[in-house]
Amino acid sequence: MRPFVHLNVRSVYSFREGAIRLDELATATRAHGMPAVALTDRDTLAGAVRFTQACDANGITPIYGARLTVGDDPDPAKADERTMITVLARDDAGYANLCKLITAAHHNGERGDPCASRADVARYSRGLFGLLGPGSDVGRALEARRDDDARTYLRGWLEAFGFHRTRIEVATHLRPGDRGRIMRTLAFADENRVTAVATNAARSLSKADAFLGDVLDAMRNLVPIADHHRIDPTHEATLKTPDEMDALFGWRPDLLDESYAIADACSAHLRLGKIQVPNYPPGTARDPDARSLNEMLARRCIAGLARRGLANDPRARDLLEAELAMCARLGFAGYFLTISDLVARVKRMGVRCACRGSAAGSLIVYLTGISEVNPVEHDLVFERFMNPHRTTELPDIDLDVESARREDVYREILGAFRAVDPDGPPRVACVAMVDTYRARGAIREVGKALGLPQGEVDVVAKSFPHISASGIRAALERLPELQRSSLNLGQLEMLFGVAERLDGFPRHLALHPSGILIGRDDLFRVTPLERSAAGFPMSQFDKDDIEALGLLKLDVLGVRMLSSLTHATREIARATGEQVDLDTIDREDPATFDLICASRTLGTFQIESPGQRELLAKLEPRRFKDLITEISLFRPGPVRSDMIGPYLLRRHGHARAAYAHPEVRRFLAETFGVIVYHEQVMRAISAVTGCDLGYADLVRRRLDRADTLDEIEAWFFAKGRANGWRDGEIGPLWREVASFASFGFCKAHAAAFAVPTYQSSWMKTHHPAAFFAGILTHEPGMYPRRTLIDDARHEGVPNLPLDINASGATYAVERTPDGTLGVRIALQHVDGISTDEISAIVAAREERPFTGLADLCRRARISRPTVEALIHAGALDAFGRRRDQLLLVSEFWAGRAPKPGSTQQELVLRESVTEFGLRAYTDAEKVRAELEVLGVDASRHVVSFYTDVLRALGATPSRELRKQRQGARVMVAGVKVASQTPAVRSGQRIIFITLDDGTGLSDATVFESVQEHCAYTVFHSWLLVVRGTLRKTGAGRGGISINAERAWDLSQLAREHKAGSLDIDALWTEGVAEIEEAERARVAARRGRGAVPVVPDGAGPLVPIGERQPRYRPRTGEVDEAGAPAAAAAVPLPARRGPIEGEPAAAGAPRKLWHASGGSAGA
């Protein structure tokens, strides 16, 4: 076998062009007996790290290169004049130039249309081989028999690469005329004394995959596949074996030998698994030596001790010494110094910034101002973050910043490192994210490529995102939607078959939403940089690549709550002059904990969901540290493993804490002997076995792997016995460690999260108006605005209506005539208003207040729909009746009245308004208009329109529920504000709903046994009446929940009531007999087992799996309630401003006004 190496290979990272997966490339190369392979993706190195890993795993040598687009005119219209050359990195200098060339290509011309100039190639050619193939200008000139042109082009490339590194590349895909072309090309090479080399310009692994090339070409060019524009009609661009290549070029063996010679000359190899701490300070010619960096960090930490009031705390001094020693050992000083500078910069911008995650466990992190959590006070462990036994990756630091300022922060961070040399290459860049084809998107695009009717394909894609090609026949029989499709079985099989092969293919590079890469000064030699849409430099590597390269990656997350808190403090200062510094408030304020214990936590950070509020009521946090525990406990793991039960029993003194060994008490006493935190697991392992905490953390990470558990158990016991522990002491502790380890929560992270949780609760307690202004403006949580507005009412904060002369861009605190502080509804949520219109209104009003409709139209120049929305929602009530003004607007725009802005118009207007004399809006119409325009019922609660029917039904207002006895059968009503359908322990589906009736919220739980009667109504109605039995949880002002039995649509009951056809008795008795029978059976069964329920309600604490941070916002558009049939999920929108009679919500929800989530957060 003659040796051959593929030097021209496009992988799936040549987006919509290549079809070779990198792992398959490496394994096939090895299987074919080739020692090396090149990756030459189109203008990208995005696959380079994964390529390296795959090659390393298969023992073959990676060669880095690219198929580079070259052209001197970046204008896309001149794309025909561009040429393609293949460049290969001979050595590390060549790799650096490859990065620079690709960077240059992405910075010329339009984004997404990379093109390097010939001058770029000349500048960065050192260390690179240049291969001139059939797609190059030389190749094309030869094909057209313009040999003189070919010679001219060749001279240019020879000037860049020299004879040593210039090659004429020949390849054949067995197309007509190939032989003649190759003969001419080889003659040309010989004549010009340039060495020639053979490649196969591969882009699919084998013949069986070659059809993917046709599909990708069609997708890229946005045309259906057809014979006449196939780019690759012979399907020969595959990763051929050396024998197959020999069959093609055996008559000129030197062409094959040359591929091997080039491969042999290429020595560049990405170094993975070695940490690259950013140099500090940035831009220094040479790094200061490690010792002076360590001293710099130590000085900064000691200053921090004084600033944090810990200068005389011996524990802090000891801990600092240990951490600094560890830091010096790992060489992390530059890392902490860099991040500390960065956080200081962000704070100087006046942006709230907090550190989350295990980093908060480090004292260095606290002392250098990166975090606000004192690890000494909370007994945290830094080894969870900085582990001496894990030296291949940098510890992660995640920063939370105000969501509204995130882009500013990006600019600041990216600029900060540029400032050293403003023209120099950046050493900070955003991180890329590889967007891949998922089933649904792949089906759509494949359908288009195959020329199938788009509508039909859409239906199929929507209905069957998870079907496989092989399952299509079975699905056809089972599913009526497919039978109705006009696509035949063959077409469907083709569609799914192709889409299935594309599943997981990278589609394009996107900007990672939060990742920032902080490199060393030579970052531009390590990664090519593209430009993001916002103009930020973006690495072509994703976060896994960056971790593998050992580079520092920072996650900068936008957190809406931080923006809300900033807005609130500014509103306090503006409205009252008081300056509030949230970082210095008392963290043990009793009034704040009163609010938390009463579960009045709607709108606060982390603890606002129904499940959280139920847990708050049971746990009754009174101290900051209780909040840390609460946040840690509210997780799927602790719930499933019954961690909460024993903790609550002991906390409230119903059971005694037991400790297996006196030493254990030291770190378990804070949670009454129950293991809650990762840190406790680590301490337990360390206490028994005598290992250090870093090692204990490694053991902890392996505890949820079943295969090594026995081994760890044996080690745990052996070490414990050797340390003088008795089996009776080790045993119980081991059981706890083994069962709770993987469920525990990182205390440092919980402590970091407890800070904004507490701050938002404090804000709600002491400055409720500002608090609501903040959360209404930035909507950080899970509840819709109307629920927040209603909660404001309950908290005694008046809602001030939309007013063109008072409402600002955002929600503002405003003193009402009686002296209380209220919240003024903002313009920002007026349906359809643009930011330009808001600015125009605010700017015009600052000159002088508007005097009328015409004045508004003339000076603010806003669109007709916006004017109408403003009138409809009452913003112009001061100037006349809404109907009159709406009519006048339509007269304006119909041309029957003078257009806004004309001179006589204002006069006409004044007279007109009084002339029309149309009927005023009723209260119900006003509320409906508010819901339509603003999405909130600000002036009056919707449910207040149903008092008649609710009184007749005997429904209990939410406020009165507490007076009912345990187990009482009640009816509650209200607007649905949230529904959740989490997965729960037993595997049965449980629906949580929260109703709001204007007196407060009621939580109801719909168990599977009654869903047959309730689920449809619960999912599809907006106004609900729920009948069920009351259960109280916790003591005193604990939680209250309804076990739902039946549910009805409130507006339907109201209509029946009005018509006199409502049978109220039947509503109260429906299904009661069987429910009670089932309940008796259940109780008997439980008594028989003698099991003690963990939580007295028998249902178990029901915690949505995966509910962690409130990323969710109310969705618009597609409704995705688990269990609801997809086709029926969308709520029909009523016609805008339709006829209204008596009630504001006759035809269903005017907007999507509630929160719905399934199992995962972020729904």
């Binding site: 067995l174 195959l450 078959g497 092969r501």
Partner: protein, 92 residues
């Protein structure tokens, strides 16, 4: 002028090198191979079947051949899956 055919032929290629083919009972001796290329079928237009089984592929040869005094340029094609040969085109 070229004429299109699609008629089965037998090919003599003792050691991979094509020497002659039989068409309509006549033996055509091959003088020279002028070109050789491949084409794949329109797999996406298939009534049924799966593209991932590999598209149908054919190898074309353009040859100069003659039977007695009757000679010319021929294009013959081989279905790479079945191995069957056919006459594709004749240039007079």
């Amino acid at each position: 002028m070229a004429k299109r055919y699609h008629e089965k032929i037998e090919v003599e290629a003792p050691d991979g090198q094509i020497e002659a083919f039989w068409w309509r009972g006549n033996r055509y001796g091959v003088k020279q191979v002028l070109g050789r290329w491949r084409e794949t079928g329109e797999w996406w237009a298939a009534e049924q079947g799966s593209p991932w089984a590999g598209a149908q592929q054919a190898e074309f040869l353009r040859i100069e051949a003659a039977s007695g005094r009757h000679g010319g340029t021929f294009e013959i094609v081989r279905d790479l899956r079945s191995g069957a040969w056919a006459l594709h085109r004749v240039y007079d």
